[in-house]
């Protein structure tokens, strides 16, 4: 058991640095205008989602376009656990991870019969099926477009058995302690750190090496006598469980589950996050998730009023022009900015933000291989 926590020193350093950065979010996000619980929770949750996705996409190279389905399944399961059993988050999370794992086992088993583009299309098709089911067919379970919400009449068997019903809707709690917003963030942050640790272990394990071998040359693996499919399926299920956890945490921090969480745009978003940050790197997907969520929440809130304040120093006549031009890139135009950023990164830094970090590190240090990147660049010998 202790063996499990015995990690190489370099990994330990990465882990500690990562933990410090995550836990210190309220401090370093403050000047960026993003240090409010709602967004910090999203940062932690989508980082978990991206971390899990990266175990599949980054290591095995299987590009799934349907991972949002597992987030949705996790959310619905968690909200149903809140409605039927208890507002405690622990059972909700366990159920969500298990159910999302089950879904990913089925979908993964069927989709992994093909590889490459066919695999992507299959996962996309399954996810869209889940979405359509949640959106209209299964309305009694999912409440369709209106989203599944808590109501005053929910049974909540365990809670009502222990204590009389209070007035108003209950909030998510852990062992009787009700979360406030910031506590909710720290809870998600701890989950993220645990998720990061597990992902780190997988990256450095023989199993992780096997997954990389699948990415590098699956045919050769098969010829040498390995059956690669169980490995790929395991990776698929693990990443599905990460997504389920992320979905559960979304419900924990805000007890509502909507079908649009399962839409293909949501699946595409996590692909963007991973590519933006750096496919196959440990930290890259997390950075990608943060970038995208930052754009979505902060840039979209800039209106002309704010811009006028920002460009106050520009001479009067010019100010209006500057504001007019920049206003196209913020507010409702945040997609445009994100798109431009994505194009620039893919063209100039194919390895994502992490490649940029590596290049800069390479300029300064002779060693030029930061701890996290080195392990990732190991490729099986040709």
């Amino acid at each position: 058991m202790l063996q499990f926590f015995n990690v190489p020193r370099r990994d330990l350093l990465t882990f500690l640095a990562f933990s410090a950065v995550v836990l210190a979010m309220p401090l370093w996000l403050s000047p960026l205008g993003a240090a409010y619980p709602g967004l910090m929770q999203k940062f932690a949750i989508y980082a978990i989602f991206a971390l899990g996705f990266n175990i599949l996409f980054g290591l095995t190279g299987y590009l799934s376009f349907g991972h949002a389905a597992f987030v949705g399944v996790g959310s619905y399961t968690a909200v149903w656990s809140f409605k039927l059993l208890t507002m405690d988050v622990l059972p909700a999370m366990v159920f969500a991870v298990v159910v999302a794992g089950g879904f990913s086992l089925v979908i993964g088993y069927l989709s992994l019969r093909r590889s490459g583009i066919y695999f992507s299309i299959l996962t996309l098709a399954f996810a869209q099926m889940c979405y359509s089911l949640a959106y209209s067919v299964l309305t009694p379970i999912t409440n369709g477009e209106t989203s599944l919400q808590l109501t005053l009449r929910d049974p909540r068997i365990i809670d009502t058995a222990l204590a009389p019903r209070g007035e108003g809707l209950p909030s998510a709690s852990i062992l009787g302690h009700v979360f406030s917003g910031v506590e909710g963030f720290y809870f998600c942050a701890v989950m993220l750190i645990v998720g990061f640790f597990i992902s780190q272990k997988i990256f450095s394990s023989p199993f992780g090496m096997m997954l990389r071998a699948i990415k590098s040359n699956q045919v050769r693996m098969n010829y040498t006598g390995f059956n690669t499919r169980p490995y790929a399926l395991t990776a698929f299920v693990i990443s599905g469980m990460y997504a389920g956890l992320a979905g559960a945490l979304l419900a924990v921090t805000d007890p509502l589950a909507g079908a649009e969480r399962m839409q293909w745009t949501a699946s595409g978003e996590v692909v963007l996050m991973t590519i933006l940050g750096g496919v196959g790197t440990l930290i890259g997907p997390v950075i990608g998730a943060w970038l995208i969520k930052y754009f979505e929440n902060i840039f979209s809130a800039f209106n002309e009023q704010v811009l006028h304040r920002v460009f106050d120093w520009v001479p009067d006549g010019l100010e209006d022009i500057v504001v007019l031009i920049t206003s196209k890139f913020v507010g409702e135009g945040w997609h445009l900015t994100l798109g431009l950023l994505f194009v620039l990164i893919v063209v100039f830094l194919p390895g994502g933000v992490m490649e940029g970090v590596r290049r800069i590190a390479g300029l300064f240090g002779r060693r030029g291989k930061p701890s996290s990147g080195a392990a990732m660049r190991v490729q099986p010998a040709e």
Binding site: R9, L16, E296
Partner: protein, 465 residues
């Protein structure tokens, strides 16, 4: 040698890393200390009060969202004493003096709901937790409005719903902190049925195309009940996804269904697309069952009529308000909106503007921003002079009751904005119903105390002890 050096460095790094973790874990406790001195969520303490405008800026309802945002800007300007005051002089309550709300200047923040529940709640949380908004308003999709209303109830922030027409908003999903000025699908059905009976007879077969979410469902149900009471029959309704874009696959089966009326329970760009396509497919030139084929759009707005263009001519629908109404309040509002933006306001703009004024007035009458008092001031409040005639904010479900207008697309518009004409008015009494028919519970009005976290983003402390 180097190894030892490195080892030392690592050890120090480890130590400082741990210290950092500890420090950050403790930090929030320090920040939040004393926050309980604050009475309720986002109590304004400076000389400004912040309102949050949460509207769709992208997606199928973006046109309505843009218009709502304009109306909010105008309302803020008028509340702060700018412009010509719009409807403030015509409003029956005379508490608003153009000096902000309770002497505090009105500031605002905006957000994009993307017509999605998740995104809308994210952006509402940003406005509440980061920007300190004391009231959230907006809408354009009932699904979104219901989701945000639920959030506002949890957080103890008043939500003044703008454009949301589903029965559920003030029906089964009603909340103590949510208020709606706009009318609902049930009222649309009651209002439009007599007009339809007169124009199209009582022996019709209707086919429904319905936007697949809470608003569409309730409107379909209300229209079905109201028209079946006339003697119409309904063929099984068809649900279409929001933002579908192309409706041709849904319209083709209508031709062979034996129906002679098509009811489009669509809104925004969806309605523009489905109506235009239905007309292009020649539905309105058809004779079915020996009768002229007709199309009904139960909820229409100027923006949609503009989008649909010539297809809209002669089509019946209902509206909450129209800029061509002759009363002083409507004229004043249309004038000041037109002067600022060069176009007449839509009904979405009107309801947004009115909701902002009503909130401001309720705060003035309550003498505080404390939500339970503001809620009391709004419940069962009777007012006039906001463009809809005498209006009641019913306390039992937080729904406004007022006249509902039956409108028709104009055959010969005099100008690009002259698109709808009011052909009938359903009186306030006629559209009043028993709140019990939709069920639901308002919940408690005790304010939430938990939003102390805002301090972290704002450690300077707008929150006095």
């Amino acid at each position: 040698m180097t190894d030892t050096l490195k080892g030392m460095r690592r050890r120090t790094l480890l130590k400082s890393g741990l210290a950092g973790i500890l420090a950050t874990g403790v930090a929030p406790l320090i920040f939040t200390r004393g926050a309980y001195a604050q009475e309720f969520c986002n109590a304004p303490t400076g000389d400004t009060v912040t309102l949050g405008f949460n509207v769709p800026q992208t997606g199928a309802y973006a046109d309505e969202g843009a218009d709502e945002l304009k109306a909010y800007e105008l309302a803020v300007e008028h509340l702060n004493g700018g412009g010509d005051g719009g409807m403030i002089p015509t409003f029956s309550s005379k508490t608003l003096k153009g000096s902000g709300i309770l002497g505090k200047k009105v500031a605002y923040v905006t957000g994009d709901t993307q017509t999605k529940a998740d995104a809308a709640r994210d952006s509402a949380r940003r406005m509440i937790e980061r920007d300190g908004a004391v009231m959230i308003t907006g809408g354009s999709s009932s699904g979104v409005a219901i989701a945000v209303q639920g959030l506002c109830q949890e957080m103890g922030v008043i939500f003044m719903a703008a454009l949301t027409h589903s029965n559920d908003t003030t029906g089964k999903d009603k909340k103590r902190y949510g208020f709606r000025h706009f009318f609902n699908a049930y009222q649309s059905g009651i209002a439009i049925a007599p007009t339809l009976g007169k124009a199209y007879g009582t022996d019709r077969i209707a086919y429904h195309l319905t936007a697949d979410y809470t608003w569409g469902w309730t409107q379909e149900e209300s229209m079905k009940n109201a028209t079946e009471a006339l003697g119409w029959k309904t063929i099984a309704p068809v649900r279409t996804p929001v933002g579908a874009g192309d409706f041709s696959q849904y319209i083709t089966p209508v031709l062979n269904s034996g129906a002679d009326v098509l009811v489009l329970n669509h809104y925004g760009f969806d309605m523009v697309n489905s109506l235009t396509q239905a007309v292009q497919f020649g539905l309105r030139d058809k004779q079915v069952n020996g009768k002229q084929f007709e199309i009904v759009v139960p909820l229409v707005s100027d923006l949609m009529a503009k989008g649909a263009g010539a297809s809209m001519k002669g089509i019946y629908g209902t509206a909450n308000w129209d800029w061509q109404l002759g009363d002083d309040a409507s004229k004043a509002f249309t004038k000041s909106f037109g002067a600022k933006f060069g176009q007449p306001p839509s009904q979405a703009a009107h309801t947004s503007y009115v909701q902002t004024l009503l909130y401001a007035d309720a705060c003035e009458r309550a003498g505080t921003f404390y939500p339970p008092e503001v809620i009391k001031a709004l419940e069962d409040y009777e007012f006039d002079g906001l463009g809809n005639g005498p209006t009641t904010y019913r306390g039992a479900d937080h729904q406004c009751f007022k006249d509902v207008y039956v409108v028709q697309g104009k055959q010969a518009p005099a100008n690009p904005f002259d698109l709808l004409q009011v052909v009938d008015v359903a009186s306030k009494d006629a559209v009043t119903y028993d709140p019990a028919i939709f069920g639901g519970e308002l919940g408690p009005d005790t304010p939430a105390m938990l939003i102390v976290d805002v301090l972290i983003s704002n450690p300077g402390g707008r929150f006095s002890r």
